[in-house]
């Protein structure tokens, strides 16, 4: 009997837990890649994404061709030259413009027909040909909208200059709420926090049990009186702290570096963030306990965490437009709930209709993954 036997059983449990956590912390310190995962990854990703990735097509190269140049065609082209959306270049003929499109030097051609000037003066309708490089369909569609806009503002200017000219029967007043400037960064950066947290959480824990299997140290732990719950808490607590640190860093960067507005409250963000991080950690632990070796655990972690969070969370692609079966799958992706919360809390405010159901879903998933991980946690070497 040693000195330990004088302690109460709850005291012993506390000591054991502390010991386990201390061991995990030491492991974190010895292999600094865990700290890199928690802090370097968010830093790098947010910088890349915030500065590098944008869906807003600006300064798109455009070929302008007039089959018969005239003052009216030059006037029409001017509508494109004074827009921040385009970098227009006037080409001598259609053949040259077409060659430029084939070489991907321009993304679209606007071609005015031979009789453009005459028909515009005469007031009879004329048609303008627009050819888009459709390979990137999304950009092409945005571009088509911009070109339509430039053409109709030219029309309105002409109509205002000559009173009594025709106008469109219906005029649209469109307003985009929450993001009137349509900055894609304002929704990409909050959504990215979910992707990053998924990565941090799952990567940190995916290896930790598998590593013990690989190195044979699991036997040593199983030989101690440590219970499954203690082992689970011992594995999760250190990585939870690291993960929250990473998330706070991401939120701070979103607010101060990228100047994304935070219209809701910070505590909602942190509370739901905790739920989400626990889900991600639980997912990683489950992968780790089931895979039993680091090689498989690492591959599974990449495949079941990062890619779904990237593609199926609504972070980039609209969930409502997916086929019904795929929409069903998105309900299994925890990031989907957190992305909805992040978009709303950052851009719209504390809308409880959105926050509460999604938070409940996250809590359920966190509990589910942690329970599963506990159940699969090895009790003996099999």
């Amino acid at each position: 009997m040693n000195a330990d036997s004088t302690l109460s059983s709850s005291g012993r449990r506390g000591l054991r837990l502390l010991g386990l956590m201390r061991k995990e912390f030491l492991q974190v310190r010895r292999d600094p890649s865990s700290i890199a995962i928690a802090f370097l990854l968010p830093l790098l990703l947010l910088l890349l994404f915030g500065y590098g990735v944008s869906l807003d097509a600006k300064h798109v190269r455009l070929a302008l061709v007039a089959d018969a140049p005239a003052p009216a065609t030059a006037d029409f082209f001017a509508a494109f030259q004074h827009s921040e959306y385009f970098l227009p270049g006037v080409y001598a003929d259609f053949r040259h413009a077409r060659a430029a499109l084939d070489r991907r030097e321009v993304s679209a051609i606007v071609r005015l027909p031979q009789d453009f000037a005459r028909r515009v003066e005469a007031g009879t309708g004329t048609s303008v040909q627009v050819i888009l490089d459709g390979v990137d369909a999304n950009t092409a569609r945005l571009l088509s909208g911009y070109i339509q806009g430039a053409a109709s503002s030219w029309l309105q200017r002409r109509a205002a200059a000559s009173a009594g000219a025709s106008i469109q029967p219906i005029q649209v007043q469109a307003r985009i709420w929450f993001n009137p400037a349509v900055r894609s960064r304002d929704y990409l950066v909050p959504g990215l926090i979910a992707v990053i947290t998924t990565l941090i959480g799952a990567l940190l824990t995916a290896m930790v049990v598998a590593r013990e299997w690989d190195r044979g140290t699991l036997e040593a732990i199983l030989a101690t009186p440590v219970s499954v719950a203690e082992m689970l808490i011992g594995k999760i607590a250190p990585y939870y702290l690291l993960g929250m640190g990473g998330m706070l860093l991401s939120i701070a960067m979103a607010l101060f570096l990228f100047e994304v507005p935070l219209r809701g409250s910070l505590w909602v963000l942190l509370l739901t963030g905790t739920l989400f991080l626990l889900t991600a950690l639980g997912m990683g632990l489950l992968i780790s306990t089931v895979a039993r070796n680091q090689f498989v655990a690492g591959q599974v972690a990449i495949i079941v965490t990062f890619l779904p969070a990237f593609m199926l969370s609504g972070f980039l692609f609209d969930i409502h437009s997916m086929p019904t079966a795929i929409q069903g799958i998105t309900y299994l992706v925890a990031a989907r709930y957190f992305v909805a919360i992040l978009h709303t809390v950052f851009l719209a405010g504390d809308v409880w209709d959105v926050i509460v159901p999604n938070a409940i879903a996250l809590a359920t998933m966190a509990a589910g993954f942690l329970t599963l991980a506990a159940r699969h946690m090895p009790r003996r070497l099999g």
């Binding site: 500065y51 490089d133 909208g145 029967p169 219906i170 469109a174 929704y187 090689f295 690492g298």
Partner: protein
């Protein structure tokens, strides 16, 4: 077979066995990529359909009903709520019940009848600004169809300019044609990276790499032993995904297979090179995995896979020149959709070959150095 070749053959056999011997590893290499292709092929699209729209119609006249029919008669929009009071608009959008609210004012029909411009208000949830602008584009094209019909029916003067828009290479502007070929590159990169990035690190952690180094194998042979299985698995998976893209997702393939496969081999060489380089620097598997992530994630984001490289700032655009996926995506899309010949893809082949040679050289050099 010379003794050398025989020895190399043995090494290759060992590497393939290391990858494929246990059932879980095999499953991980084959199952998830296929599942992902199916899921992402359907999910990854910027096209919208069944956009939830709420309608607030204050106008009692017939014209507004006709306009609403234009909206609800398409696949694109789906009416989820009929609003009867101004105050309900905000709640509808805040709670994400509707993405778009169409508000028709009291005088709509009267203004139209009197040939005064009738105005329609459209409010869009801008939380996802890309979705918002696409939805708005759809709404505007429905309104301009309505305008054209109205002008023709009531013999109003035609507007002076009509745009006829045509999209080359993808006439219906289906974003799936853009995304699915991209998935070929994306999944191939992920698979080759996980196969190679952990391979040397695993042997280091288990101590078997030192044993390999004391055998008569030259570093070059060890490199070939490590690189070929990754390339072979990548090639097989990429081919399979390609077949699925063409026959399942019906993406057109107008170019030459040779041009694509030349690109694919170079792409695999470059990504295997990067993977092995990461692995040769890593001491533990966790470090290898982290390295793979630190490469794969930026490589995917900055490849032009989902967001155009042209929208990135200059400095980031320069950075993408180091990314093999960037070049392969141009090749796979160019060959499939535009039918580009190999001669016009040279500026894509060469950088990938250079990346491959440089990274493989560094990896070989690191194999040696790490022992001491």
């Amino acid at each position: 077979m010379t003794a050398m070749e025989y020895a190399l053959f043995g090494l290759l056999k060992k590497e393939f066995l290391a990858l494929l011997k246990d059932k879980k590893s095999r499953l991980v290499l084959v199952g998830p990529p296929l599942l992902q292709l199916l899921v992402f092929g359907y999910a990854a699209s910027f096209d919208l359909n069944r956009v939830p729209v709420a309608i607030y119609n204050e106008d009692p006249g017939p014209a507004s009903r006709e306009l609403i029919a234009h909206f609800t008669g398409t696949q694109t929009f789906r009416e989820v709520e009929r609003i009867t009071h101004q105050d309900q608009i905000a709640h509808c959008i805040d709670s994400r019940k509707a993405l778009l609210v169409l508000h028709i004012g009291r005088d709509f029909s009267r203004d139209l009848a009197r040939r005064r411009p009738a105005s329609v208000q459209i409010l869009v949830d801008g939380r996802n600004s890309n979705t918002a602008s696409i939805a708005l584009n759809y709404a505007q094209s429905i309104l301009s169809d309505f305008n054209r019909e109205w002008i023709e029916r009531h013999r109003l003067p035609m507007p002076r300019v009509q745009l006829t828009v045509r999209a080359w290479f993808n006439p219906n502007l289906e974003s799936r044609w853009f995304i699915v070929p991209g998935i070929v590159g994306l999944l191939t990169l992920v698979v080759t990276m996980v196969v190679t990035a952990l391979s040397v690190a695993r042997e280091r952690e288990q101590g078997t790499f030192d044993q390999l180094l004391v055998t008569p194998y030259t570093p070059l042979q060890i490199l070939i032993g490590k690189a070929l299985p990754g390339m072979a698995i990548g090639l097989i998976e990429a081919s399979f995904i390609l077949v699925m893209a063409v026959y399942w997702f019906r993406i057109p393939f107008v170019g030459s297979i040779g041009a694509l496969y030349l690109g694919m081999v170079l792409f695999l060489m470059a990504s295997v090179g990067v993977g092995l380089m990461i692995s040769s620097f890593a001491v533990t598997q966790q470090q290898g995995l982290l390295g793979a992530f630190l490469f794969v994630v930026p490589a995917v984001l900055l490849s032009g896979y989902a967001t155009p490289i042209a929208n990135m700032p200059e400095a980031v655009q320069t950075l993408t020149l180091l990314n093999p996926l960037r070049y392969f995506l141009v090749i796979v899309r160019g060959v499939m959709l535009e039918g580009l010949p190999p001669s016009s893809l040279l500026d894509q082949y060469v950088p990938m070959a250079l990346i491959g040679l440089a990274t493989l050289a560094v990896a070989t050099w690191m194999f040696r150095r790490r022992l001491y």
